[in-house]
Amino acid sequence: MTLAVLFPLLMAAVCGLLARPLGRRSGYLAALGFVPALLLAVPLAGNSVEAGGTPLAQVTNWVPELGLNFAFRGDGFSLLFAVLIGVIGALASLYSVAYLSPHERFGRFYPYLLLFGGSMLGLVLSDNLIALFGFWEMTSVTSFLLIGLWHTRSEARDGAIKAFLVSALGGLGLLAAVALLSVAGGSTLLSELDLEAVRASPLFVPALLLTLLAALTKSAQLPFHLWLPTAMEAPTPVSAFLHSATMVKAGVVLVAKFGLIFGSSPLWSGIIVPLGVATMFWGSWRALKQTDLKALLAFSTVSQLGLLMALYGLADAEGRFAATTHLLNHAAFKAALFFVVGIIDHETGTRETFRLSGLRRKLPLTFVVAGLATLSMAGLPPLGGFISKELFYEAMLHAGPGFIAVAVIGSALTLAYCARLIRIFFGDFRAPEDDGGRLLKSEIHEAGPGLLLPPALLAGAALLFGVLPASAEWLARRAGTALGFAGYEGHLELWHGVTPALLLTLLTWGLAALLVWQTARVYFLQVHLEFPVSSNRIYRGLLIGLETLASRLIAGTQGLALPDQLRITLAAAGLMGGYAVWRAPQVFQPLEGVPLSTLPIAVLLVAGALGVLLSRNRLTAVVLTGLTGFGSAVAFLAMRAPDLALTQLLIEAVTVILFLLVFRSLPGFRSLPRGRTRQIIDVGLAGAAGIGTTLLILASLRFLSPPISPYYLENAYKGGGGKNVVNVLLVDFRGWDTLGEVMVVAMVALAVGSLVRLGRRGEARSENDTAPTLPDLLDLQERRP
């Protein structure tokens, strides 16, 4: 299993390296990358999974102290999903070989695709919660790269950013949820969580809500659905992969898996089921409005995801069984349809429904494939979609009458947009033209086997699931043990007698026929019925608000003059330090015996500091600074550090000389007023800094760990051959540090030299002084037209 997850990542590197010589053929390598995932079908087919035997488990230690491991666990559901990812990933890779233009940047496309597939595999197989979060975010990042593949188009950029922002927001929620869960459950392994403890914990509800945030954003549920339609800016093979097996299903996986933890709470289904059903309705309503085939499919995914979410959200055996069946059906028909739309786009040059008609005559094979997949999506017999839709109705019957109504209307709308989709194949053939009336493609002919085979296989699966329901049931049952519906007795059948669900289906068909009959009126209604609040508008508003806030903040804090900026920094540091001091245990030692000899030192140090503050003459100031300098030299002597005292004395002399040199070309001390408020603030800040330093020193007087100095004292002579331990330390033990210090001094010397040489002559120019004044800015703005 680790192999299955890591192999695509490995192949991504290989593909990236070989893309130049191989060109589009590197797609075959990419398909190869999904082979280990396909091999997971072998354990899946075995009896152990179904019978509830021990699932596959693999643990690779990473940072076990922090609970960070690559723990993979192949229970029935995870394996089923992994195989799904493998199948569609491989098909998408093969399809894209024929689909993409030879000038595409394959060195990016296939590695991104493989990274995406690999992280998705990791997400479904991971048992470790933290690794799960990691893979979750990896899918966000890689889908960002894939959606933005054609980054020269602003729509692609916008779509990528939108998808990333929305799903990363949910990702943060997941991180918090995972942390809460592992704290409450006492383990970072999903399979080892103490469910009783989690349910009893006060962290249960926050974790539930945060998990929901993650699942809803990733699976594009109602308030967060805005990113999915714009994600269709990705190349079509990617869309097929993203919409059918991966990215958007991640949230479904999360709801399915975590439903076992949270499902006991009424809050869980109370939030998911209404949102899911609402999303189903809204998605199909919007899908019916689209004229772009891909947009239609994108909104249809939103709708179908709502259905899946609602089923898993019920958190009972029946719902999970129905959802798993529909998951398989949806993956089959949605990927097939995306591939078909890719073919149509590829062969005719357009995806606009009103430009296409009668394609059945030119693309007969594509028509058959599209027909099968569409029938399945519409939920018509004898295809897989019909069976899972019946199950959906069955489940909604238990949820309540309101849910049934919305579900029926949503399904009728689904049928209607399916009709719109399939209509492009009927009628008279008309060669698609652009707005200027020119032909988009001079000749339209059937797609090659490279384009047709992947959707044909998937449509075949959709047909198989319908004609032979036992096949779908057999597959769905694999997930039974993991999702807790192993004991559920329901069976998949095309005809199960006259049940309420069947009556609902007939009602749906009637409604759909009405919708199709009144197409023009429905369209009129849709165009004129605009909702004032759209999540896209909210998103834009938030984005603009955030940008404004950020630039205001930067302009307000970074563009200030030096003293103001320092004040802000110091105030922030003071606040944080003050909080620390307030919280810290207070340690104060009494003023123990002070030798009389230190009193002159104290006087020297303080006199220098006070003198500089009061001096009005720069020469006095420098001399007084020297006073403190010499004071500290004497202090070093008193502290038994003769080397330091010597160095300090030397440096002091040089500093004074330096100041005197500089003063030749600087003006005298001017008294620049600070203003009364600033004066008070400055005194406060200085006082806080002083008191803070004092407290810090007093607090650090106790040793936190045993001192390492005895080592130096013992080894100075043996190791360094010198009797002055400080010197040996600098030159031998910390030789590299000293070398670095010498480099710093050398660089300072260079910088000082060049700065002094630059400014031989005073060249004061006012326009180089960039201080902005208010009149300046106003003047500037007035000049702008």
């Binding site: 030692q589 002070v594 403190t628 500089v662 001390f669 330093t693 007093l698 210090e741 710093v744 120019r765």
Partner: protein, 154 residues
């Protein structure tokens, strides 16, 4: 003795911070020097001030801690380097700006509220972050501003 020094160091740092917040550039440099004095003494003080022998093996033990002394030795030299560099930067700033008032040294960021990155990449294409902006108007404003500055200097 440590308490006495802690208080002294606090005074030095307070004086240094107050000086750093003033507007004259030389005072800012002096303020930094005072903070450096304080920090040097603090490193030694934190290690504990005992009346033992200096860490010279020719003398009789016990010795005081040699490690902070080595650290402070480095710190003194680096502190001097910083002071020297700051002083020359101050000198150069005075030569270029024509005054030594730190509070009047501005920042380009505050200058142009329309350019998000605060500086123009080139006059033809003023703000690369906003491709859809009307560059003609922006260029005109920029040129007008340059003209105004030229008039002032003349």
């Amino acid at each position: 003795m440590e308490t006495l020094f802690a208080i002294l160091i606090g005074l030095l740092v307070a004086a240094g911070v107050f000086l750093m917040l003033s507007r004259t550039i030389v005072r800012v440099v002096l303020g930094l020097t005072f903070i450096a004095y304080g920090v040097n003494l603090a490193i030694l003080t934190v290690a504990g001030l005992r009346q033992d022998s200096p860490p010279l093996l020719t003398l009789e033990g016990p010795y005081v801690d040699p490690l902070p002394q080595a650290l402070v030795l480095t710190a003194i030299v680096i502190g001097f380097g910083t002071t020297a560099l700051l002083l020359t930067v101050a000198l150069r700033a005075y030569q270029v700006a024509g005054h030594d008032d730190v509070a009047a040294f501005g920042d380009n960021l505050a200058r142009d509220p329309d350019a998000p990155d605060g500086q123009h990449a080139d006059p033809e294409h003023l703000s690369p972050d906003l491709p859809e902006m009307d560059h003609a108007a922006e260029t005109a404003a920029h040129l007008a501003e340059l003209e105004r500055l030229r008039r002032i200097t003349r």
